[in-house]
């Protein structure tokens, strides 16, 4: 198992190099000058001499390939460089925002799991009944509704009309409620649909009939025999969703003014802050890969038939 994990981690290296190269090329292809981040366009134009001096210091006058090699060389040594926008080390900028991202992602995942899994089970057990119909209808709505729209609806209802919850911002746990529900809902819908279909498939298996015919209580049949065997597809979905929730919450972060990594990335692309963009991309890809690795390792625990080692 350890060898497997190490091998997977090692495979991350070419992936990360490749992805930073793609990012680098894309950021260099799109027009725009990073010095725009120093001044509002509204306030006029940067003094050309000062702008030139700053570009020189930022290394933007080097040949493009050299800029990338320098980045790689420093990145290998753990130095992701200095942000143009913030004049601060990139690592620090990302780490400052990571807690908020983790908090929102984890809370959304908790919302998705605690509602989605029991919901999916209930729907499967009562297939065709009113619980199933209404739950699956709700799920279709949850998957189809754009996040920003749902966010604004919740905000209007719970912050403006009913009051009690803050509309946006970051701080006490109360601030977490609306964004995590907004972000978690579509994952919840996905997860509960997946749970339902996995459970339905398992419930038709012979061993379930055997378990029932042995006279086991229905509760034991569902939770012990059926659910355990339905876990593999569910964990797969949870893994993919966790990857998304921990890295791709840009829209939710923007709607609720949540200070996470996704928003940082988008802002920095807009302002051509290449070092931070590279850092965020590395971070995002790394997170995604690690979550996927964790899921693969989990398979072995969930289903003893799966062997991760060759």
């Amino acid at each position: 198992m350890t060898r497997y994990v190490w091998r997977r981690l090692l495979m991350l290296v070419p992936l990360l190099v490749g992805i930073t190269l793609v990012t680098f090329v894309l950021m260099n292809v799109i027009p725009g000058d990073p010095t725009i981040s120093l001044m509002d366009p509204k306030r006029g134009q940067l003094d050309p001499q000062a702008a030139e001096r700053i570009r020189e210091r930022w290394g933007l006058n080097d040949p493009t390939y050299l800029q990338y090699l320098k980045f790689l060389y420093n990145a290998v040594r753990g130095d992701l460089g200095f942000s143009f926008r913030f004049n601060q080390p990139v690592t620090r900028i990302i780490l400052e925002r990571f807690p908020a991202t983790l908090e929102l992602g984890a809370a959304a995942l908790a919302v998705a799991t605690t509602i989605g899994v029991p919901g999916g089970i209930a729907a499967a057990v009562r297939q065709g009944g009113w619980i199933d119909a209404s739950l699956m209808g709700f799920c279709v709505a949850g998957v189809s509704m754009p996040v920003f729209w749902l966010g604004l609806l919740l905000m209007y209802l719970f912050a403006v009309k009913l009051g009690g919850l803050p509309a946006g911002g970051y701080g006490s746990p109360a601030f977490l409620v609306l964004p995590s529900v907004t972000l978690g809902l579509s994952s919840m819908a996905m997860l509960s649909r997946m749970t339902r279909s996995a459970m339905l498939e398992v419930l038709r298996q012979d061993y379930i009939r055997t378990a029932r015919s042995k006279g086991l209580a229905e509760r034991v049949v569902i939770y012990k025999h059926a659910l355990r065997n339905a876990l593999v597809p569910m964990v797969t979905v949870m893994g993919v969703q966790a990857g998304w929730l921990l890295t791709g919450a840009v829209i939710t972060e923007n709607v609720f003014g949540w200070p996470g990594v996704g928003r940082l990335l988008v802002d920095c692309i807009g302002q051509r802050d290449l070092p931070v963009v590279q850092g965020c991309v590395l971070f995002t890809v790394g997170m995604f890969a690690l979550v996927n690795l964790a899921v693969d390792v989990l398979y072995a625990y969930i289903d003893p038939r799966i062997r991760v080692e060759r």
Partner: protein, 541 residues
């Protein structure tokens, strides 16, 4: 039995993993949060930033409103510019004089003014701060602000170890000598980049000075959750007495609908309105009386390349000015959130001429002018523009039918802002649409039309009129304000008649506030640029 135990253990393992992930998340985040609820007796004002995180609060590193608003409360300069009274007011300098030749400025400093670390501010600190701005090692994009000081260029090129023109003449007095007269020099000193900073803190904090700024202003920096919130607390020891509100909290929320919800829920005390939000508040009796409006110092326009046909002909440029109904466009396209332009200067600029009426909407006159200019059948031209709703492609599309009515076909070419400016500087355009210039002195506005500032220096339209040049040159050496305004108005009249631009509108900036917020001012430089130390909260529920 064995198998059952193993299965249960795996289930426990899963639950434990989830719990650990959640636990780590919550602990990690709770550590980063600042202290608990505010004390009951404190007054707290919450504003919101539309554009994003201030990024860095070192006054010499940024010229972005997000940072400037906060820095104006944390730092102080020698002088301040009162945008409502349109005059200079003392800040760290109590007194200043200008020599008759306009070259030597003498400043007396406020005695007893202190940095937030308790140390008194002396004239040496001013010299240090100005040299810090000019020092090329500090990479300030704003160093040209003080470039007119004698010896500044030598210092910037490292030919001298100090700036020859800045002389400390006593603990509380200094003189500044300029290389050549600059009528805007005192105004330049009011820029945030000319703030006086404590040397010891700058050296101690290094690059972190921009993250934990230490100044001398009415507010101290307290805390900053990046991309979320900046908190300032009152400097009770400020020389002018403590400010009116104890805590100023700035929230960073870029989504307009979210700001609306937060404002409606009372989470925000005041906020700047975006264009699409304006009418909603204007038409709501609950908020209509809680709006503060101002024409900002920006003139939206289409700039014509005066050296290329057809716009090398003044009659053609005038014809376009007559051909479009700017008043209707302001009401429809911009939903009333602008003022139709009557000339170059917005009403809030020093020197604005209320008697100048500008171009009326007169398509017949436009046709006649085109005929006279030799374009009886009209022509076709391209306008470089951004996607900006008020001065970008939507506006160009809106004028298409007006110009078509007089036989002119206009094609918008949408590009990024930086690309547009590069091409405008290089003269590679027929016309472009833009919004300038934010300056509070008419001299800066008129420099955009001086024949010596072709290209990147500001005169991108390559407009040249010897009479305008003469008037602007004369302004440079004028110290009398009345005379200055007379010259400015005369130059403006000529420029408006020559019509190097299609004068479109002046931006109307609008703030909406809760009834309990007092002291907001109509600031034409940037509405968001409020004097935080003068704002108060009275009877907030």
């Amino acid at each position: 039995m064995e198998a059952r135990w193993a299965g249960r253990r795996r289930g426990v393992w899963l639950v434990a993993l989830l719990a650990v992930v959640l636990g780590v998340a919550l602990v990690a985040t709770s550590c980063t949060r600042s202290a608990g609820p505010p004390q009951a007796q404190q007054t707290r004002l919450t504003r919101v930033d539309l554009y994003g995180d201030p990024e860095n609060l070192d006054p010499i590193l940024k010229d972005k409103i997000t940072a400037l608003v906060l820095n104006s409360a944390i730092f102080e300069q020698l002088l301040n510019y009162d945008v409502v009274q349109k005059k200079l007011t003392p800040e760290l300098a109590t007194d200043w004089t200008v020599s008759p030749d306009g070259l030597t400025y003498t400043f007396k400093l406020h005695q007893g003014a202190r940095f937030h670390n308790g140390r008194e501010i002396k004239a040496d600190d001013v010299k240090y701060s100005f040299e810090r701005l000019l020092n090329p090692d500090n990479m300030s994009p704003l160093s040209s602000t003080l470039a007119s000081i004698k010896g500044a260029n030598d210092f910037a090129e490292k030919k001298a170890t100090e700036v020859a023109g800045i002389k400390v003449t006593g603990p509380y007095s200094l003189t500044i000598e300029l290389a050549e007269p600059d009528p805007t020099f005192l105004l330049r000193l009011t820029n945030i980049c000319c703030s006086v900073v404590p040397k010891e803190e700058v050296q101690k904090l290094g690059a972190d000075f921009g993250m934990k700024p230490v100044g001398s202003g009415p507010y101290r920096f307290d805390s900053w959750v990046k991309d979320s919130k900046v908190v300032l607390v009152a400097n009770k020891d400020h020389w002018a007495g403590p400010p009116k509100t104890d805590v100023i909290e700035t929230l960073i929320v870029k989504e307009a609908a979210t700001r609306d919800a937060m404002f409606a829920a009372g989470q925000i005390d005041y906020m700047l309105l975006g264009d699409p939000q304006y009418l909603k508040y204007k038409n709501d009796p609950k908020w209509a009386n809680n709006l503060v409006e101002v024409p900002e110092l920006y003139t939206r326009h289409i700039a014509f390349n005066c050296q290329k046909p057809p716009f090398d002909n003044k009659l053609v440029r005038q014809a376009i000015n007559y051909a479009i109904d700017r008043k209707t466009l302001v009401e429809t396209l911009l939903q009333g959130k602008a003022y139709p332009a009557t000339g170059l200067f917005p009403p809030s600029l020093m020197g604005y001429d209320p008697d100048l009426k500008g171009y009326p909407y007169d398509p017949e006159k436009a046709k006649a002018l085109l005929k006279e200019a030799g374009y009886p059948k009209g022509f076709e031209f391209e306008v470089l523009c951004t996607s900006h709703p008020a001065w970008g492609s939507p506006a160009v599309e809106a004028i298409q039918p007006y110009l078509e009515a007089v036989g002119i076909k206009v094609n918008p070419v949408q590009v990024e802002w930086g690309v547009m400016i590069d091409r405008a500087n290089a003269g590679d355009f027929q016309a472009y649409m833009y919004s300038v210039c934010g300056a509070v002195h008419p001299y800066d506005w008129l420099l955009l039309f001086h024949s010596k500032s072709f290209g990147g220096a500001g005169n991108r339209v390559r407009y040249s009129n010897s009479e305008v040049d003469r008037l602007v040159d004369q302004m440079k050496t004028t110290t009398d304000e009345g005379e200055m305004i007379r010259l400015a108005r005369e130059a403006e009249k000529i420029i408006v008649d020559d019509a190097p631009w299609w004068f479109f509108n002046y931006n109307k900036a609008v703030i909406v506030h809760q009834p309990w917020v007092k002291g907001l001012i109509p600031n034409p430089v940037d509405m968001d640029y409020q004097p935080l130390d003068k704002l108060s909260v009275e009877g907030k529920p």
